[in-house]
Amino acid sequence: MTIRSTRRLRRGAAALTGVLALGLALSACSSAGGSAETGNADDIAKALDTETTITVWAWAPAVEQIAKDFEKEHPKITVNVVNAGTGNDQYVKLQNAIKAGSGAPDVAQIEYYALPQFALSDSLVDLKGFGFDSFSDKYTDSTWNSVNLDGGVYALPQDSGPMALFYNKAVFDQYGIAVPTTWDEYVAAAKQLHAADPTKYITNDTGDAGFTTSMIWQAGGQPYKTEKSTDVSINLQDAGSKKFADTWSELVEGGLVSPITSWSDEWYKGLGDGSIATLTIGAWMPGNLESGVAQASGDWRVAPMPTWEKGQAASAENGGGGDAILKQSKNKLAAAGFLQYMNEGDGTQTSIAKGGFPSTVADLNSDAFLNYESPYFGGQKINQVLVQSSKDVVKGWQYLPFQVYSNSIFNDTVGKAYANKSDLNAGLEAWQKATADYGNEQGFTVKAGS
């Protein structure tokens, strides 16, 4: 009852604000000024010397501090940092504000997987207009490729998540298991560990869209292709997808993965007491382990992600994202100035200090970063493993222009395979069909299957 009525109210409100925004937009046509979508460094500098307030939607912990530092440097600019929710929660609000025609921030944090959805629907400013395409050499190939869509640059990368194998060395030592370097060895280790102690599992997995797409990425799959921004093809049964699903099905069907959902209390508990022995996850994980699983300090280590072919290094990105400027913004030049400061300028150091894994080549290759010995990981120079992973990311990956929705129905389809401990390939096919149906429904031309 309440849900329904608030939904209707919101719709009503959206219509009202839409009408109001239309009026505003019409009246705003005459005064271009700071809302220009192009400009050089001088224009940006001039905009930063004008009294302006910009709003930033972000959940990355460093942004608050970056905004304060920026305001100190540019006293005429006020930066309002709003945490409008993490990930999908924020995208929902952002999408609603875009639809309503007003209420969107000037700058928004958007993960790589969600970027195509906002960029291709013409909601974001192409940063080429500010000359930001000249920064391409400053970022890793994989992150730059993620913000470079359909010939435009729609965000500046902030952090990245090259994957690695985080493992509990204490557990591996206790049962005399070697750290797996290939996925076949990983499955063998899973069996060995669970046989030795049925309360222990190699990892947890209850079906996670982000993990699945990253694993397919590493296996060389390219299930999503978008051309001319509306011609989409989906094939979740290509060679890479199948390779992943066949191997991972063995773990799911055999009950070798712990049925605990990531980021739950049980999950942190399992990571601490050794019942979840490994995580294959993005390079941003160390900070989460240090704060969430403090009791296991010294137990964990980082190893390269297991590979499909022995000795052939390969990895993928998992999570991470950048920040974009919204078309709705009335202060695009000032927003561009802030964006540059945050993700290309001094802000990058603040991000790294707050635990973000950088996407900037210079920071990744700095001696201080590479030689940092993490006390949590028993003094291991973890960044050497993680930076190597960022160099091994398989090229050519693309996300869908409606990946956010597609991920939201992952558990409706592939989740059934997890619930029934059955073959993941069938789940992937169901996911592909539901995703293709949605895409066609939204006016894309979707070709499903090979």
Partner: protein, 311 residues
Amino acid sequence: MTTVSQNRPTAVAPRLGRGSAPHKAKRDWTGWKFIGPFMLIFAFVLIAPVVYSIYLSFFKDQLVGGNSFVGFANYIQVLGDSKFWESLGRVSIFLVVQVPIMLLLALFAALAIDSARLHFPAFFRISIFLPYAVPAVVATLMWGFMYGVRFGLVANINDFFGISLPDPLSNSWVLASIGNIVTWEFVGYNMLLFYAALRVIPTDLYEAAELDGANHLRIIRNIKLPALRPAIVIGTIFSIIGSFQLFNEPNILKPLAKNTIVTSFTPNMYAYNLSFSGQQYNYAATIAIIMGVATAVIALVVQNRGSRKEV
């Protein structure tokens, strides 16, 4: 008389019809002034959103191609949408099984408290009613923890007795588990509804029945149940509406059972996820309208049947 009404075809005041003198025909706005504020709010919070939803349901706004008028296409699509029918089927099963159980429990509790055979009836009344005072969100979270097979109450029972209860959040049990939560929440509310109806029965009826030698069961059957019929009809209608609008409980349990509670688990969840994660506002509006009409029709049928028997 006829000329007067012909001259003023728009006048609705019945006074005019009485053929009174023209100067009395001046319209009396006092009634409208009283009802005005309500009508204004009613128009804004009920009529306008419904009209807007109906308006939305005739359009289709796509990420590619923009907004266009599609007539009844959305309605036709919903009627052929297997996810919609699955969700409707799920709440229908829920309705047919959970509502009778809940209402019978509530009826039993109300009769027991009213029977004057219990010690401390006030204590029972308040403790049965108490769960209703717990917000549904809190109640669901609480039950969600109890249902946990690894750390929850179910896990403790399994450990203690060395047994293995089925997972309450598994595919085959999740609907029953939600039914259990809803029953726990609303038995007290319905009990109070019935109890209030029982309290207004004049006591001389009981005295007369006793003089005629009627026992307690007889009194229940011939006096209390007939007197309860309107309350039972109301309780049933509320429960039907509640079942069709099932949302809070499954939506809050979803993070604990994301592979069994799908995004289209109930019609309301389906509409919610379509609009808020799929941007299919038009399609969601169509589902909302169809569900609204279906609920209204079923509630009307129940009300008509209920009141017909009463006569």
